[in-house]
Amino acid sequence: MRGRPLLYTRYEADQAILNTVTKKVMVLIFLSALLLIPFQVLPGLDFLGENDWLRLLSTVAIFIIGALGLNILLGLAGQVSLGHAFFMGVGAYVAAVLGSDPEGLRLGFGLPMWIWLPAAGVVAAGIGVAFGPAAVRVRGLYLAFVTLGLVFVGDYVFRNLISVTGGAEVGRTFPPLEFRLWKEDTPLIDFASDGAWFGIELTSEAKTFYFVLAVAILFMLLAKNLQRTRVGRAFQAIRDRDIAAEIMGVDEVSFKLRAFGISSFYAGVSGALLASFVGTVIPARWDLFLSIQFIAIVLIGGAGTVAGVVLGTAFVTLLPRLVQDATLWMEDVVETGDNLLATLLDLVVATESTDFGLINTLPGVGPGLSVFQLNQVIYGLLIILFLIFEPLGLFGIWIRIRNYWKGWPFTY
């Protein structure tokens, strides 16, 4: 009710995603800010409109889709899965086979995106459900092992199925992001090249950003809606206590299978978009590290919440960039400066092959961690720290801040 936020007279209002005016306004502001990013008009954030940042933000949007999938499985239904990267790989190669040029080097049927993108999700979901019967029999650590197996099976298959994947060393190209009605020559909408939309000149990066943003928002709404349905509640019941859920009439096997299916669908779509966005991908892209990255996203962001997934993805995806920038800055100081700061930083970074340093900017030479390895270490540390100190993740921190003010002037 207007002016009485707690007086719910209909279930629709009680269950609304944006149930307060404040939330509506905040979402509106956030969305308009996102739409304005490519125009570089936001004070202080105009750098986000630069092409390399736009590419990074598009990656974030694509990763959000994948992370939402894992969140449904891990955050909602409570099933640990290390096999997420495998399903993304399946999606990517389904897209490649269906969407690639038939005259190309590798297998391809040249079908339009409106076929290959959903198909990527559907095939991945199918494999997820097919794999389900093995997975629903085990829990916790054992489930982690079973799904870990998937990644290695996938790795082997991807390396050897050269006609589809291009083989371990070379990889293959993926269909570009463009929208055709059928196999006509000029695409109806082309996201992968510069051009004007409605009279506004846009770079290919900006167009791609808008496209993946729209898809990500669609999948966020679907995920949010899932939480409010019987299926979503059944998932949460299984997460909290599977035996209790069964006693309440939740068919455990059926709902676990659905969780695997839905999660794999998200992964497939995300994988297809990622591969298409990057262009050329080798099979090693879909390895264990990618799975761990997604687990990090869900756990750092806050398991079980869509907002947490968004926060977590932004954090995890932008972290390498920050680490890289920081390393470059440190190198710069060490090489040009001759003060105390430079001396201290010299202990951290190694700039020459004989140099000692925790971070080695010359990969493969000398001791120390590469930037990539450092990222892995940081993910690992963050997962441990969040699990111990803030199990609800970044979103949990926000909830705490919000509750602090909600309770004002009391504590509860």
């Binding site: 002016g3 009485r4 707690l6 007086l7 719910y8 007279t9 209909r10 279930y11 009680d14 004002w408 002037p409 009391f410 504590t411 509860y412």
Partner: protein, 624 residues
């Protein structure tokens, strides 16, 4: 008494007076889709529009006709507050029968007395618990023909008993009767007379058995038109359909009946039924009513809740909260000194305090949208009113009793004198007897008499026809009335000094630690008191001080707790003259309860019962 069957053939008289039921019909015509009632069920506030309510009232009224309820028959209702209560009440008024409400806490002995005394023919028992109470004493209720129950659960053991009728079946029966006898209800309604009794409201019975005060259509109309509806009684417009009310006190009590049922019928206010008395705070927060009526006990509870939660805050919040409470006391004092209105200083401080504490605080206690709050039905400590005024809740004390349909005095905006019960309503007769100091009233809302108790009725009036309220009062500034005490409660010490115990008791009860207090001293050399603690608050305090305790009694008798209460007693003693000081006190060893006969249904202390119960403890205080 004419039977309805005979009269239903007669043409409608067409004269018709505006009874409460007629008013409901008018609202259904004027605001068919307006919300009349909300009830929280299955997690959301289910709404009843005026059309829904009027349809249900007609069905229920026809149901009563089908059950052969005749003019002047009694229909008793034993239920928590819920829409069915109001619907059956209005239906009863529509068929010119008389509603009697029973408190949900009434034990079966009291149910027996009340139902035998009123001789009700149709009884609404909410659920199995209330039905059990009737069935225990059914032998002594020969008039009772039908027991309607709302909840179907637990009635299987009586499934062959023809007296039982499910509410839904009752309505269905009404619908059939309505289809078969169209227009009958309209004819019955238009026959209503001003002198028809519409309800029996039983007095709480602090002395002797309860008496059923008969209130009539005249009483209702006068109360609605000359008390509730007059301009300037509440800040802003008189009550109207935009107003929201939380219904949470027992509807069988005159205060809630006027504040809920009569506000709804008379002014179209929306009623929101609280889930139960325990959830009042939560429901208040959800509903955020615009009009709020409370008994002192509720305000004491809210106040204690604020203080405890405030102390529980983190350091930063405690500091802000403390600052806010400081502002409350300054603003409150300013407003009390200025007849309840803001002064320049208090307005300024309020502007400072509003964004940082008051807005959130009022939201939390559900009073952010309250434009008028009233307190009455029992004496209240002025400090408490000052507190709520200080945080910006426009709180006014008023005074009235069952026998005059609560039409006596109230504090008006602009002349809110804290510590008085306000000025008489314009145009009513109210006087204070020169000799005894008793307040007496005379106006059209004064009741018709006690049901079947002519001698008691006679006692209630003076020789010249004024209603004796039994309350001793005095004039303040020639316009406002201050209640000294109930006449029979005044203590005369052996030194011959007249002392009003309730003033001292209320001062004690201002402390959040104290729930009950009874001052003793009639015919004694000095005053003593028995005091009962507020278990939640003192329990919380003890936990904080790391004092282990097990039961209420154990906690009461802890030396630390006695010391705590001694502190409160000392504070109170400072405010009163020497003869009014409490020399000794003892703790009440149990939590008082209605079902054990220590409290009335309205949570008032039964002095006589308490004196009997605690005889030894009291004598001990006066022992050598």
């Amino acid at each position: 008494m004419t039977s309805l069957a005979e009269r239903s053939d007669a043409p409608p008289t067409g004269v018709g007076i505006r009874t409460a039921a007629v008013m409901v019909r008018e609202w259904a015509e004027r605001l068919p889709d307006g919300v009349a009632m909300r009830e929280k069920d299955y997690g959301i506030w289910q709404e009843y529009t005026w059309t829904d309510v009027w349809e249900l009232v007609q069905d229920a009224a026809h149901g009563l006709l089908a059950l052969e309820v005749e003019v002047g028959d009694r229909v008793s209702i034993h239920s928590e507050d819920r829409p069915e209560w109001i619907i059956l009440d209005m239906a009863t008024i529509a068929v010119r029968a008389i509603t009697t409400g029973l408190y949900p806490t009434n034990p079966s002995t009291e149910v027996e007395y009340l139902m035998a005394d009123s001789g009700s023919v149709v009884h609404l028992a909410e659920d199995q618990e209330q039905a059990d109470k009737v069935m225990e004493v059914i032998e002594s209720l020969p008039h009772l023909r039908t027991i309607i129950h709302i909840e179907p659960r637990g009635f299987r053991k009586w499934r062959d008993d023809p007296r039982f009728l499910l509410w839904d079946d009752f309505l269905e029966m009404g619908r059939e009767h309505r289809a078969a006898n169209p227009g009958q209800l309209e004819r019955v309604m238009s026959d209503a007379a001003l002198d028809d009794a519409i309800t029996l409201v039983y007095t709480s019975g602090t002395t002797g058995p309860p008496k059923g005060a008969m209130l009539t259509n005249t009483n209702f109309l006068f109360c609605v038109e000359n008390l509730v509806g007059i301009e300037g009684r509440i800040p802003g417009k008189p009550p109207n359909p935009a107003d929201s009310i939380l219904t949470y006190l027992p509807l069988c009590h005159i205060a809630e009946r006027i504040f809920s049922a009569w506000h709804m019928a008379g002014f179209g206010c929306t009623l929101n039924f609280a889930e139960s008395i325990e959830t009042v705070e939560q429901n208040l927060r959800e509903v955020q009513p615009t009009l709020f009526f409370a008994v002192p006990r509720i305000l004491e509870r809210i106040h204690a809740g604020i203080i405890i939660k405030g102390k529980d805050g983190t350091w930063f919040k405690r500091v802000w909260f403390g600052f806010g409470m400081k502002l409350v006391s300054i603003i409150g004092a300013q407003r009390v000194a200025n007849d309840g209105d803001h002064t320049f200083l208090s307005r300024l401080l309020y502007l400072i305090g509003y964004p940082i504490v008051f807005r959130a605080l009022k939201e939390r206690i559900g009073m952010r949208r309250v434009r008028y709050a009233a307190v009455g039905a029992a004496p209240i400590a002025p400090e408490l009113i000052q507190y709520f005024l200080g945080m910006g809740v426009p709180l006014f004390e008023l005074y009235g009793m069952t026998e005059n349909s609560a039409v006596a005095t109230c504090n008006f905006p602009g002349s809110n004198k804290v510590g008085t019960v306000g000025a008489p309503y314009p145009g009513i007769g109210l006087r204070i007897d020169q000799e005894t100091g008793e307040i007496q009233t005379k106006h059209p809302a004064v009741f018709k008499g006690y049901w079947n108790k002519p001698e008691k009725t006679a006692e209630a009036f003076t020789e010249d026809g004024w209603l004796r309220t039994g309350d001793v009062g005095e004039w303040v500034d020639g316009t406002h009335v201050k209640i000294v005490d109930r006449m029979k409660d005044i203590i005369i010490t052996s030194g011959g000094k007249n002392i009003s115990p309730s003033e001292i008791e209320n001062s004690l009860k201002t402390s959040p630690y104290i729930k009950e207090a009874m001052v003793i001293g009639d015919g004694r050399k000095y005053l003593t008191a028995v005091i009962g603690i507020e278990l939640d608050v003192v329990g919380d305090w003890a936990t904080r001080k790391e004092i282990p305790y097990t039961t209420y009694r154990d906690l009461s008798e802890k030396p630390e707790v006695i010391e705590l209460v001694q502190g409160v007693v000392n504070e109170t003693n400072k405010k009163f003259a020497r003869v009014e000081n409490i020399r000794k006190f003892r703790m009440i060893p149990k939590a008082l309860d209605h079902e054990d006969g220590e409290l009335t249904a309205t949570q008032k202390l039964k002095r006589q019962a308490m004196t009997e119960l605690l005889r030894e403890i009291i004598e001990d205080m006066y022992g050598s």
